[in-house]
Symmetry: C2
Subunit: 193 residues, 2 copies
């Protein structure tokens, strides 16, 4: 079947590109963040993977709060920039216009269509990274990004990162409906017992 | 600025669609899995969010192993099916041709271009879900999915899920290079001090 083993770092799953917002010594700081996921269903929680060397790591340990901001494809340059320079060396606080929800150490980027404020409920220490699990406190968007009251990915226009080829990608076409596309197969399997 | 607060469940980030492989009572079992991320850089680890009601949850607690399989867009129907029926009610072991690497309770789906075997190193208990962090033990692919020795997302042809609109999406066009697109801005910021 031609299967081969590849390096453990190589697998090229697309991750949604976000910008992590924190407060570092009282000022807003930002970092490109790709390694995140829902970590719990109810209450909704996000888990984020942050390298212990990053300024954002110290910032989150200090405040217990962070924001996840979803940039649009036309923010690709500035998003990439946030991952090229460290908050230890460069003050990135003026990079974006921000606003705040309930969490005063979770700066929300006004230009991002979706911004999520989280409060850390668990910190999992791993060899090179901490995995911060945060309960979602508030999500902000704008009416223009909704369709029938739900965020619409085609209006939000986020982008994806693949590694190790290090490319950003737009979201393509809708190919099927989830929790639906497999229904015909389910009926067939039932009939065949 | 027109910002509005939305329900904490609504944020529509695209997640890469995968199929979780486990062993349940000695047989292969599969479940659609979207909530996963890299959880540590070195050694490479994946973290997955699994609801405590799922058969896969009991399976992982039992064996401490799982696989993450990346289906292609032409597997959308069968992938969706794995999320529509529970391993508690239906035997899904015959759904795919599988092979095994080092981990004998991590069934790899032959048809999937990327298959990743993981050994649980930490289980984080959360209210409705467990977050299983697994060290990547082996990744399998095939030569035809590589470009210059690296997995090529356009050859792998994975797809994405957005919620709560519940749609599957293909990956679109490459829009920029990561760790590169922001370099001009970095130079500009340096000049402007």
């Amino acid at each position: 079947m031609g299967k081969i083993v590849i390096e453990k770092d190589l697998f090229c799953l697309p991750w949604t590109q976000t910008i992590l917002g924190t407060h570092l010594e009282g000022k807003a700081n930002f970092m490109a963040l790709d390694w995140l996921t829902r970590a719990n269903y109810k209450p909704p929680m996000l888990g984020i993977c942050v390298n212990k060397h990053n300024a954002s790591h110290a910032a989150i340990l200090g405040t217990g709060e962070f924001s996840v901001n979803v940039p649009t494809t036309d923010m690709v340059e500035v998003t990439d920039y946030t991952g090229l320079v460290s908050g230890k060396c460069v003050d990135k606080s003026g990079l974006f216009e921000v606003f705040y929800g309930e969490l005063k150490a979770a700066p929300m980027i006004t230009k991002c269509p979706i911004t999520i404020g989280c409060k850390v409920v668990k910190t999992v220490e791993l060899p090179t990274n901490s995995f911060f699990i945060g309960e979602i406190i508030t999500i902000f968007t704008e009416d223009r990004f909704l369709t029938e009251g739900k965020p619409d990915v085609k209006k939000i226009n986020p982008f994806l990162l693949t590694m190790p080829d290090n490319r950003f990608w737009s979201v393509g076409e809708s190919i099927a409906k989830a929790w639906n596309a497999g229904k015909a197969l389910r009926e067939q399997m039932k009939r065949e017992g």
